[in-house]
Amino acid sequence: MSVSFALARSAGRRVLWFLFVGSLIVFMIGPIVWLGLRAFSGLWLYPQLLPKQWTVNGWRQVFNDPNLSHSMKLSFEFAPVVTVASAAICLPAAYAFSRYKFPGRRFLLISLFAVNAFPKIGLYISMAGVFYSLNLMATFLGVVIVQLIGTIVFMTWIPAAAFSAIPRSLEEAARDVGAGPLRVFFRVTFPLAAPAIFVAMILSFLASFDEAQGTFLVGVPKYITMPTEMYTLVLNYPEQVAAVFALLLAVPSVLLMALVRKHVMGGKLAEGFQLR
């Protein structure tokens, strides 16, 4: 009696478990699958579970779009420039935040978040006013600056946390054997924080790569990157084209995330890093 009862209960538990995992899969993988199907579908009407016709028309249209290759090229130009500029600006700030106590430190740290706290479009519009007067509208520099904004939080907070995790004595020991402050940074601090800086740079790269609103506002008509181009496509072409384009946009993200997983989480860089 009690045995079958327990069996029934464990069976019930198993069903719940399957439901949970199943719904998780639907939520995570579902949209991607749908996007994939959509990219290859012809006519696909409501009650049908799967499209009736399969076609690569969407792909053809996207690749025939004369603006596509140009926007791709632009995206791959902006993202590295923004990432490097962001690193150059934010890493020293991150180091200062983690190592020095200075007036206004807390306020500055919090205000970094504040930038992300309210809808960006408001910020961009007020920036546009300033950009007009500085002749930065529709310039390369203007787009770089507007994309930088979205990267500052990653590029400051993640490396700052990494710098703070490095014991000061490791830097002092390097000073002790004759290294000047810059040498200490490049030979000790930077290599130890490198995994975190790498992650921050990838996140910045993706933030820049996917940024649409600010780029659109500042960049048009000269600088149309992939995400801004997507707006045009969504408005002017059938749904499949947008799906194809979304898949294309996702490629760098997926590749970079895989890289992060392999080199950072996978422990290659972390190996030998922990002292007992």
């Binding site: 490791l170 390097a174 054997v177 004759g178 030998g272």
Partner: protein, 376 residues
């Protein structure tokens, strides 16, 4: 200059008297009236200390007395607010650590986890752009000196705590500093290893004859490896002496109670001995001072003579603690508790007689002497 030549030189120095040199070779390190304020408090207060060349000095004191702060000022990680630091007679007070002829062994070793043992030790040599061959020769020599021949290409995380300690020492010694600084270098090792490594450190230090400042709060450590010990309290040196005088003649009651065990009483000097509270007169052979009025009397447990019968003040045995080759007995002499170290052969008894072979008399916490202090 190779490590080998340096070692030879150090040995010569140890054997023959110092030859004349442009800078004073007898003073290794001088700390002159150094003070440091941190967080609005004076942490090191008008400190003075002189370490002879080739000498190992321990800074010994309770937690928070300013040992690390002092060491960091010697190493250049903190700049004194007042006073001077001199190495070999040269003022280095404001010199940054990378310019100073000092080398520090940090408490947590501070090995660079992304570099192998070899690279850790070689780092300072490489900064000096020495030829590849010389770098690897000197690293090999210094690793042999500290007794680490395996694991040369391992990462620090892969070797034991004792080995990490040796790497840290090697990294400090390879640059042939004038002064070696160690901040509680043994505190992360287990008890047995601690004793072995401290003896190794002492042996290496004597072999190469390097001026050394060793911070510890373990009196046993300090007493067993130092040439001299500076007992610190409240940011100041209370007494600076070798282990024996520190133990036999503690200048202050702080030193007396911090180094070794000590019985202490309010006592009056009377003919033939000391009168303790409860009108108890204990015979005493050797008093550090004579005079009227009350003193604080300090008596080491081994200076308490216990006999089953005969002369002396009566005392009751409270408990006996076997200590191996001797035993500790706790006695009540009137209202006073007395600890004594006696021969393990002394038969157990309930009532005994005690006398003191030696007592140190303090007034206002300072040792009182009838005559000039015994010179060491």
């Amino acid at each position: 200059m190779s490590t080998e030549r340096r070692l030879d030189g150090a040995q010569q120095r140890a054997e023959a008297p110092a030859s004349p040199a442009p800078e004073r070779t007898d003073v290794g390190l001088q700390i002159e009236h150094v003070s440091k304020d941190l967080g609005g408090r004076t942490i090191v207060d008008d400190m003075q200390l002189e370490v002879k060349a080739g000498e190992l000095t321990c800074l010994l004191g309770p937690s928070g007395c300013g040992k690390t702060t002092t060491l960091r000022m010697i190493g250049g990680f903190l700049i004194p607010d007042r006073g001077r630091v001199l190495i070999g007679g040269n003022d280095v007070t404001k010199m940054s650590p990378d310019k100073r002829p000092t080398a520090m062994v940090f408490q947590n070793y501070a090995l660079w986890p992304h570099m192998t043992v070899f690279k850790n030790v070689a780092f300072g040599l490489r900064l000096r752009k020495l030829p590849r061959q010389e770098v690897s020769d000197r690293v090999a020599q210094v690793l042999e000196l500290v007794g680490l021949t395996h694991h040369v290409h391992s990462y620090p995380a892969r070797i034991s705590g004792g080995e990490q300690q040796r790497v840290a020492l090697a990294r400090a010694l390879v640059l042939e500093p004038k002064v070696l600084l160690l901040d509680e270098p043994l505190s992360n090792l287990d008890a047995k290893l601690r004793v072995r490594v401290r003896e190794d450190i002492r042996e290496i230090q004597q072999r190469i004859g390097i001026t050394t400042v060793f911070v510890t709060h373990d009196q046993d450590e300090a007493l067993s490896i130092s040439d001299r010990i500076a007992v610190m309290s409240g940011g100041n040196v209370e007494q600076y002496a070798d282990a024996r005088s520190l133990y036999r003649e503690p200048e202050t009651t702080f030193v007396a109670s911090f180094v070794g065990a000590m019985n202490s009483y309010e006592a009056t000097v009377v003919p033939g001995g000391l009168e303790l509270p409860g009108k108890l007169v204990v015979p005493c052979d050797d008093l550090s001072a004579t005079g009227d009025g009350t003193f604080e009397a300090g008596v080491r447990p081994e200076d308490v003579h216990v006999s089953l019968n005969g002369d002396g003040a009566p005392a009751d045995v409270v408990r006996e603690v076997p200590r191996g080759h001797y035993k500790e007995i706790v006695l009540n002499a009137g209202p006073n508790e007395v600890r004594a170290f006696v021969s393990a052969d002394l038969p157990p008894a309930e009532h005994v007689r005690i006398s003191f072979t030696r007592a140190l008399l303090y007034r206002d916490g300072v040792l009182q002497r009838s005559s000039a202090p015994v010179s060491v």
